[in-house]
Amino acid sequence: MATMKFFRRRLLHAAVLLVAISFFTFLLLELAPGDFFEAMRLNPQISEQTISGLRSEYGMDRPFLIRYERWVRSIFNGGWGFSFAYNSPVAPLLRVRARNTLLLTSLSGFLAWGIAVPWGVWSAMKRGRWSDRITGIATSSLLAVPDLLLFLLFLLLAVRTGWFPAGGMISPGMEGMRLWTKTKDIAYHLALPSVALAITTLPVLVRHVRSAIADLLEAPFLRAARGHGVPPLRLILHYALPVAANPLISLFGLSVATMLSGSLLVEVVFGWPGLGPLLVESMLARDVYVVVGVVMLSAVFLILGNLLADVLLFWNDHRIRTE
């Protein structure tokens, strides 16, 4: 079956990619002079011997390939390496942080696409008129605003008005509360960063949706349908969107990468405990295995996102083909 072959190829492709990325990242970090224990040298009370003892205890004095191989093994047995700063295997750290990042990015994604598609469609239907022009101006202005500025302004909003907590994920003292209260609290914390992240990805999406739909509205088959008196909403939903879905799905695949990059900054600015801050602090501390773990995990997300996009593309295309 062609479908099976297609997927097998994609999975193989993905696996090769992951191995390559892991090796490459490991190599990159290998080239970095100094390691986690370097920082200890600054403390005159810790002797050289202690440092080298710690090093060998953690296996950091072994040759590169041995360390790489041990790390790969730890992937399979669920450890994903060891964090010196947190003094624990990397995997549980990643799990918690990844969950938080996914929460943030999926909510942002829903918001962004949920606004972009209707807005883009509406703008396409009104193309050439004032409302479309305003959309164009709005999107290009938003594009020009640096993400950083936007995030800081949102933070300022939180600090000044007190409507939203200024960062973090949970208010102190909330851990023991009931699920509903906890969820509300988390939602309050989640609100600003997810909206901010959504706003940064919005302009590009709106533009693409608009151009895809606008092109289609000129197409003969759609004009014929309109001539037959098909109402506009049905036109969009049943005629235009299925065909526009293809480029939009590809866009979705690409936007996963952008969203991932964007989430890093928003998490750091808002103090949202996701993969972003973890990456930054472990880089600053030279916590090697954590850095590799985060990079690998984000690569996995990326690949999964693209795979999902491929599946959707295939499914969508398949349907059109058999009609």
Partner: protein
């Protein structure tokens, strides 16, 4: 018609930014390290033409600041001290484009007056001067990286489009890979390779290299499209008929057609890369002190008290937004011109 005005408007703004930043030594009243510990977080200095007794002065002036006795960290205008604004003052010495020594500055006020057009930071350093000097780093890295990406993209795209076949396949697969990478993560990964405290210029160069090497994919695809359509044109076939070599065809007939796309892509990439450098420095991973970059100007905003009390610390970001808007407008206008020329 309006498009032409927009393009020229954008180019004028871009020109102003770049010239002023290039000659930061002349336009900035202070150097980027000059501190005034007595005036941390001073608000932007106001220019006055009318003094407190109602008299008009042709030459604008500024007032001194003194601490507000009621609350710490707030300043009061000191009407006793007036400092007229002077043009072409003598100030710290520097070298124009690194060669000619000079100590002329566009404007300034007499000591101990201070003119902080954008306010001052926690160390009493003039934000305006630091914006100009910071621009040299941030803007330059953006421009260099964009040039590198576009150059690489042009080479790859031209080869892929012109030769087609397996070369095209291979190169386009490669570009798919690069398009899908989260470049910020990649940037971080590479930054991690470097020791934390290496010289600022080395970080700078590496930043430029990584950004440039990662971002070639999109320009490459677009240029490939141009090359594909160019090579089918009859004048290329005619030139083949004269015995032209591939290199001649690429140089004479294909590359000139890519000019528009090259310009547009560069104009689009520069803001992206500037932002990347700013983000990295903001997080503490880019060029470090004492070199100023726009990121370091914004990094103090990570502290809540700065964020909520000292609004002028946002101003560099607003100026950056204006610069980016100019770049995007220029890119749009060029694209519009290309479209209408193709008709």
């Amino acid at each position: 018609m309006t498009r032409r005005y927009r393009l020229w408007g954008a180019l004028v703004i871009l020109g102003c930014f770049h010239v002023v930043i290039l000659f930061a030594d002349f336009f900035a009243p202070y150097s980027f390290t000059t501190q005034d510990r007595a005036m941390p977080f001073a608000p932007p200095t106001r220019l006055h033409w009318v003094d407190e007794s109602g008299r008009f002065h042709a030459r604008p002036f500024v007032y001194g600041l003194k601490d507000d006795p009621r609350s710490l960290g707030i300043y009061q205008t000191d009407f006793m001290r007036r400092y007229p604004l002077r043009a072409f003052v003598d100030g710290s010495s520097y070298r124009i484009v690194g060669l000619l020594p000079s100590h002329l500055h566009l404007f300034g006020v007499e000591e101990p007056g201070r003119i902080f057009l954008l306010g001052s930071d926690g160390y009493g350093r003039d934000q305006f001067s630091r914006f100009l000097y910071g621009g040299q780093i941030s803007l330059l890295s953006g421009i260099l990286a964009a040039a590198l990406s576009v150059l690489l993209g042009t080479v790859v795209g031209t080869l892929a489009g012109f030769y087609g076949g397996s070369i095209d396949e291979a190169l386009m697969r490669g570009s798919e890979l690069f398009l899908g990478l989260p470049w910020l993560y990649l940037l971080f990964a590479v930054r991690a390779v470097l020791p934390l405290h290496i010289a600022g210029w080395q970080v700078f160069l590496l930043l430029v290299a990584v950004l440039g090497l990662v971002g070639w994919a999109r320009p490459a695809r677009l240029i490939r499209g141009v090359a594909l359509s160019a090579k089918e044109r009859n004048f290329v076939l005619a030139a083949r008929g004269f015995g032209a070599s591939d290199l001649y065809l690429i140089w004479r007939h294909v590359l000139p057609q890519t000019g528009g796309v090259v310009l547009t892509q560069t104009a689009l990439l520069v803001p992206t890369y500037v932002l990347a450098e700013v983000t990295l420095t903001f997080l503490g991973l880019g060029v470090g002190e004492p070199l100023a970059s726009w990121g370091s100007l914004l990094s103090s905003l990570q502290q809540y008290y700065v964020l909520s009390s000292y609004w002028w610390m946002f101003l560099p970001a607003l100026l950056m937004a204006a610069l980016f808007q100019a770049y995007y407008t220029a890119a749009d206008a060029i694209q519009g011109r290309l479209k209408s020329a193709a008709l």
